[in-house]
């Protein structure tokens, strides 16, 4: 079961990657306006 010593830290790293990706998305303003895009896609032609 020594594979756990590799897999578990890897899982933590993956989670860290997710947080970093989210931080990037938030900092680039993707969550500033969460209402309008939902309406906008209704009118996209």
């Amino acid at each position: 079961m020594s594979v756990l010593f590799i897999v578990v830290p890897l899982a933590v790293l993956l989670a860290a990657g997710g947080v970093l990706a989210f931080a990037w998305a938030a900092r680039s303003g993707q969550f500033d306006d969460v209402d309008t895009p939902a309406e906008r896609m209704l009118h996209d032609e």
Binding site: M1, V19, F22, A23, D32, D33, T36
Partner: protein, 844 residues
């Protein structure tokens, strides 16, 4: 207008949803109850839908941009007489636009944006305006971000087009503070995400460890999971969780109670002891509970601050509605320029209906100026050459040319704004209910922990600290700390949808108990404009007067014509030989009858005035209302009283407030006589009607009255007002409520803004706050119940991390469920249904 009304009423009525709500004819969304017009069949949720509908209806179902030509020919929407030329001025460009590559960008606040159809219409703007590259709308805030090529099109042209399709634009003035807030919002979101990811991972490790208790687990694996949990939890505590330690440290230093103190205590005890046992290699760890606590509490706070920021944003965006341009006379021609570029000595033109951009002296012109916003005086003041006028007042009847003396901060309004800042600074913060409870929690937790430690040092010294830490972790008032922000979030969100913008959570607590309420008169209890308040004479004369006054554009004449208008058209009355003498009256011949209307002195020179009428006119004048005499064929026949009419809902609202135990007073800048008359009509005693107060005197009154209230009694001082002259008092009061139509200064100073006219919604606000406070108290009991149960288990030494991990979320979730299900402010849907059933005309 009449043509449009027939057009709309001849069409099919608005659809009605299954639940009985009136839906917008165009977009099928629920029509807000305030917009339902019972006199017509089709209902619309906003200007955009109405515009889109009337276009599609009159022109067949063709596509919008093919109808561009006809749209341009439409009668302009209200307010489109503005040229928006000031948007091209250099000062404006420097303040509000930015250059990115070949394109210029600018954010404009649009009035009247409401639904998906508005979005469609506005974002199709680049197809109508050549040179406009992009228009992106933020639907909730009503801010459009424009990008255009300055060489091809000017911003003024884009602005005019926006206005012509029904969305008059204003520069979004608060761009700097908003970008600061957006950055803070993003940081909070990232912290929340980090706390969430850590909590989820630590929970997974904990699951493995708990499973390992029953199953055999290799010690090496166990050590790895414990160390990983430790690293992640410590990260969570020093980064996202640091806010709890910071605020509790500040609370301890200033010796003010705060809910964060017991929370930080639990987090610290749980975290530190677990780190110790991890390093030691044996003993209980609480990393899962601690990291979940950090996440849950942060989430609650995130939602609360987001909601309150949204309300504060909405109020701030309303500032943008005040005109920010002036018409400067340059070498014989007038040019629209931004207020910021005005200088002392400039000559500006102020059209009738515009507010004054500066303090100055009238150079030429003869007009009436409404100074009620600044002084509370309800009667317009006549100004002519040489008179001083103040920025922010309203020019009513004729155009004026004003020589600029001071602008910006040096004006009377600017000085009042400094007073507002002073009032706000001197205001002591209210100790919140949750914080008071928090200090008791801290004491209780520490006492119980000491008892536990004592008992177990005597019984079993090896596990004494373990049990004490378990107690500290499990008695953390997280149910209260999480549920309170959620209740406040839901309450402010619902209130906002009902037109009550609450800027801070303290308001809910302050308004939940009756206290002292000081009300402004002009614009708050009264409508703030001229209207017919009394009529003495035969009704048969009314159409004659209406017909004559309809020919004049004097403010009194206009108000009289409006209020006397009969439901039946008066076109059988032919008016000729009308002769108007400014400031005195009007005479005309109507259907061969000679009619003279005007002041007592004017009418008595042209006709015989009966003793009864003359007496009554003098009595009214003494009470502060303007008597208008009507003489027909040489003898006085009727008397109309023009004044600032009391709002229809005011009496009922005030009576209900008194019944609930509120102590009410009027504070007005208007003459004492007028205040007394209005006050006695509204059931105030003489000593509660205070007139002739300057803004400074209002501030002093509020501060003095506040000092007489015992802070521990829960009785608070509430100020209700609308004008610049109320702003300082609003800022100094425990709760400042600004009513609809208020001045920019009062919006900035208030804690609550009521966007529906009148004070009727105050009752609704108080009801909602009272109910929200009850829910918060109920949460306290839920929290207490769980904590005492858990504390009992912990003192008995039976608590292990697994039980703590199960009990904590259950207590939080049940408090959350109570908060989500409970009634605070009624839902918009509920009230829409109510108002739909009250107005049978809007139903098929």
């Amino acid at each position: 207008m009449a043509a449009e009304a027939t057009l709309l009423s001849s069409s099919a009525p608005s659809p009605v949803s299954r639940r009985g709500l009136v839906l917008c004819k165009h977009c099928n969304l629920v029509v807000p109850p305030g917009l339902i017009d019972a006199t017509r069949e089709a209902q619309f949720c906003c200007h955009g839908c109405e515009t889109a509908y009337s276009i599609i209806h009159t022109c067949g179902l063709e596509r919008y941009y093919e109808l561009r030509q006809q749209l341009d020919d439409r009668a302009p929407a209200p307010g489109t007489d503005r040229t928006y030329n000031d948007f091209d001025d250099d000062t404006f460009r420097r303040l509000h636009t930015r250059q990115i590559g070949p394109l210029t960008r600018c954010e404009l606040f649009l009035h009247g944006v409401h639904c998906s159809a508005c979005l469609w219409l506005i974002e199709r703007l680049p197809r109508m305006v050549k040179g406009l590259v992009e228009a992106r709308l933020d639907l909730r805030r009503g801010i459009v971000d424009l990008a255009w090529d300055d060489g091809v099109v000017k911003l003024s042209h884009i602005a005019r087009t926006l206005a012509s399709i029904g969305y008059p634009p204003q520069p979004a003035r608060d761009r700097k503070s908003r970008s600061h807030r957006v950055a803070e919002d993003r940081r909070q979101l990232v912290r929340l995400a980090a706390a969430g990811a850590i909590a989820a991972n630590v929970m997974l490790f904990a699951l493995a460890l708990y499973a390992g208790i029953f199953d055999a687990m290799e010690p090496a694996h166990r050590t790895m999971f414990r160390w990983l949990s430790m690293v992640l939890t410590v990260l969570s505590l020093v980064w996202p969780g640091a806010v709890f330690f910071k605020s509790s440290w500040a609370a301890i230093r200033t010796r003010t109670p705060h809910i964060d103190v017991p929370i930080a205590l639990a987090l610290f005890a749980g975290g530190a002891w677990s780190v110790f046992t991890t390093i030691k290699g044996s003993g209980e760890i609480y990393f899962d509970t601690v990291s979940v606590l950090v996440f849950a509490l942060l989430a609650g706070r995130f939602f609360q601050s987001r909601q309150q920021r949204a309300s504060a944003d909405d109020v701030e965006l309303l500032f943008s509605l005040t005109p920010s341009s002036a018409r400067r006379v340059e070498g014989g021609v007038t040019r629209d320029v931004p207020i910021e570029s005005l200088q002392t000595g400039d000559l500006v033109q102020v059209l009738a209906g515009d507010s004054l951009p500066c303090d100055g002296e009238v150079d030429s012109g003869d007009s009436l100026v409404d100074e009620s916003l600044l002084s509370g005086e309800s009667r317009p003041v006549r100004v002519t050459h040489g008179d001083r006028v103040a920025a922010g007042t309203l020019n009513i009847s004729a155009e004026l040319f004003v020589r600029v003396q001071t602008v910006g901060e040096e004006t009377r309004v600017g000085q009042l704004m400094r007073l507002v800042a002073d009032g706000a600074r001197r205001k002591a913060p209210i100790v919140r209910f949750a914080d008071v409870v928090g200090s008791w929690f801290t004491l209780g937790m520490l006492a119980l922990a000491a008892i536990t430690l004592g008992i177990w040092l005597w019984l079993d010294p090896a596990h004494a600290v373990d049990h004490a830490v378990a107690l500290l972790v499990v008695t953390c008032p997280c149910a209260l700390g999480l549920a309170t922000p959620i209740v406040i979030t839901i309450a402010t969100g619902r209130a906002a949808r009902r037109g009550m913008l609450i800027k801070g959570g303290d308001v809910i607590q302050s308004l939940s108990k009756p206290g002292v309420m000081i009300l402004d008169k002009t614009g708050t209890l009264t409508s703030g404009g001229l209207s017919l308040v009394a009529w003495h004479g035969e009704d048969s004369i009314r159409p004659l007067v209406q017909a004559v006054e309809a020919t004049s554009n004097h403010p009194i004449a206009k108000a009289l014509a409006r209020d006397l208008a009969a439901p039946v058209a008066s076109n059988i009355y032919r008016v000729h030989d009308a002769n108007q003498i400014l400031g005195r009256g009007i005479e005309a011949t109507v259907n061969d009858r000679r009619v003279v209307i005007g002041s007592l002195s004017f009418v008595s020179t042209l006709a015989r005035v009966t003793l009864e009428h003359a007496d009554l006119a003098r009595r009214w004048a003494a009470e502060g209302i303007t008597p208008i005499l009507v003489a027909v064929d040489g003898i006085s026949a009727a008397l109309a009283a023009m004044g600032d009419g009391i709002r229809p809902e005011a009496r009922a609202t005030l009576d209900e407030l008194r019944r609930r135990g509120w102590q009410l007073r009027i504070a007005s800048g208007d003459h004492q006589d007028v205040v007394t008359r209005v006050g006695s009509a509204l059931g105030f005693t003489l000593e509660d009607c205070l007139g002739g107060l300057s803004p400074e005197a209002k501030l002093t009154l509020v501060e003095r009255t506040k000092a007489t209230l015992d802070p521990r009694s829960g009785r608070r001082l509430v100020m209700v007002g609308d004008g610049v002259n109320d702003a300082a008092a609003l800022a100094a009061a425990d709760v400042g409520i600004a009513v609809h139509g208020g001045a920019e200064a009062s919006l900035a100073a208030c804690d609550v803004y009521l966007s529906r006219p009148g004070i009727g919604s105050i009752l609704e606000l108080l009801d909602g706050c009272g109910r929200s406070m009850n829910v918060i108290r109920r949460n306290l009991w839920v929290s207490l119940f769980y904590n005492t149960t858990a504390a009992g288990i912990a003192v008995a030494g039976l608590l292990n991390p697994l039980i703590a991990a199960i009990v904590m979320p259950i207590s939080s979730l049940s408090a959350l469920a109570v908060s989500l299900k409970s009634r605070t402010f009624p839902d918009l849907r509920e009230s829409a249904r109510l108002s739909a059933s009250r107005q049978p005309g809007s139903r098929p």
